[in-house]
């Protein structure tokens, strides 16, 4: 997993609420057995017409946002299916950070496994960043995970919370599985005890 330390880039505004993972990556692209290459189909049905041509007014098709690294989104981003293809598609496009008032649980977890930082902020701060994002390429945001601060185009900063363990893993690009395997003795002990207590499992 690629480390996430500090990210500077354009933020794309997507104020719609309940953006679901079917919108982020429609089902026809889930038939891959790889994690890569999904960026071109990110938001496919919003981004392209029936003939595969770009829909010009979709945010990521506009010149200012084609290189966006951040999305500022409406409430409950990532709801629906558990498909990790959603963060894979975001990552493949170049999105490393999503900011919203809330995220669906599974999507939120999936982001951290892929070096994407989801940030939850109160409504008024998301509104402020949405305004900044509307200003396009003139409005570059900087997200500093170390200091847990977002710096806006006008120099003002907004602090954010992040789970300390997840922060540690993102900052260092750590592989969860390797870390859990270091605790194999605890898992062995639990398994032995559970086998005595609940042998039918």
């Amino acid at each position: 997993m690629e480390k996430f330390v500090k990210l500077t880039g354009v933020a794309a505004p997507m104020p719609l609420v309940n953006i679901d993972t079917d919108m982020i990556i429609p089902k026809q692209f889930l038939k891959t057995i790889k994690r890569s290459g999904l960026g071109v189909n990110l938001f496919d049905e919003m981004r392209y017409d029936d003939n595969g041509n770009e829909i010009p007014n979709f945010v990521l098709n506009q010149p200012a946002y084609r290189e966006a690294k951040i999305i500022v989104a409406g409430d409950n981003f990532g709801c629906g299916s558990s498909r990790e293809h959603a963060p894979w598609a975001l990552l493949d496009f170049g999105i490393r950070c999503v900011i919203s008032t809330s995220f669906a649980d599974i999507f939120y977890n999936n982001c951290f496994k892929n070096g994407i930082l989801p940030i939850v902020l109160p409504q008024e701060e998301v509104d402020k960043l949405m305004d900044d994002a509307e200003r396009g390429s003139n409005a570059v945001l900087t997200v500093d995970l170390e200091s847990q601060e977002i710096t806006g185009p006008d120099g003002g900063t907004i602090g954010f919370d992040v789970d300390p363990w997840r922060k540690h893993c993102l900052l260092n690009g750590l592989d969860d599985i390797g870390l859990t395997m270091e605790k194999a003795a605890s898992i062995d002990a639990f398994e032995a005890k559970a086998a005595m207590e609940r042998p039918w499992v």
């Binding site: 409950n76 629906g80 599974i106 496994k113 892929n114 194999a184 898992i187 639990f190 039918w200």
Partner: protein, 467 residues
Amino acid sequence: MSPKTLYDKIWDAHLAHEADDGTCLLYIDRHLVHEVTSPQAFEGLRMANRKVRAPDKTIAVPDHNVPTTEGRDNPEAMPEDSRIQVAALDKNAKDFGIHYYPVSDVRQGIVHIVGPEQGWTLPGMTVVCGDSHTATHGAFGALAHGIGTSEVEHVLATQTLIQTKSKNMKVEITGKLSPGVTAKDITLSVIGLTGTAGGTGYVIEYCGEAIRDLSMEGRMTVCNMAIEGGARAGLIAPDEKTFEYIKGRPHAPKGAQWEAALAWWKTLYSDDDAHWDKVITIKGEDIAPVVTWGTSPEDVLPIDAEVPAPESFSGGKTEAAKRALEYMGLKAGQKLKDIEIDTVFIGSCTNGRIEDLRAAAEILKGKKIKVKRAMVVPGSGLVRAQAEEEGLAEIFTEAGFEWRLAGCSMCLAMNPDQLQPGERCAATSNRNFEGRQGRGGRTHLMSPAMAAAAAVTGKLTDIREMN
């Protein structure tokens, strides 16, 4: 000992490790696997030269991609990309030595229907699957939730999941349901009330007389859609109905082990004075037969209501409702009962069990469909066989329904079962998102009986007005 909720009890019984910073490793009793969200996880194991830690607790079945038409065990029947994914699951199951129900096996079906049917899902267990509708298994008093592919790989390798504990929410449905009101109406009504983000950060326990009165099939329908309300999981305390359902199933405990299991299962309930972070109470009699009108499962209204005006919502929902009405081709003020449909889909992990098929067949008996296309997709090969034995298949086909083989089918339309742009479907599945059942397709969610009624009349129909 301090009082605990059912969720607290299951959590405590599965805590394998807790770090100083509070990060927990939760031990996983059952890991269900399907073809769409697992290939990258198995590839990850191979690349790191890792094994599946507990193959005997890992169960795989292809369901999302598979065609539901006859002759499908011929690999040529599948498009190449689907075939590759199913073949990858075949190979991964064999290479890693996990339990497997291939397409050719009569026990194959939707993973969340196969698990309980085969007795893999038991009370007090932790159950995960790379699929959000894993919440279904909560009906047995198991802690069950969906995970992403990275977490699938983590569970395969370590049989644990890194977790932080959720908060406790109680959803109580008191009293009795009115005639025509089903488990689907309960679960949709709860989402209509709380919204799709209302459960975020919570595990929901459903309780109350109306829940206790439900069959196991109905309880699975309720828990299945906990995820649509944003909750990590939904569960229901096990009782005699649960034990009766489990007893004698292929992987249920037997003999002395059954007795030991039963003794523990009977301790699995929330203590009277347990702490709840949020409580929602709904009177059973206040729940009506409902349908969805929009493109989010929270867009729920009683069937006798009208399409709402976007201006009646606040915040970002106004814009979302405007977009939804445009997508759905509906106008504010239109009566829901006037909405004409052309397609009916009965099936899915929400409503693809025998009881659902019985409820639909009851409505269809001796009638003909008035829609362009209607299909029934049983949730498993065994559900299909039972429905054939009970004569339900005949009722469906005589009414004009297509009688399909088991799979996820038009719930997510990854296989050839898809809506065409502009087609409008009465569906018993769980999501009405834009494009969910096919690009441009329009979905109204409802119970199996309501979907059957819609098939007969050609429009959304109040089940209470059917003869």
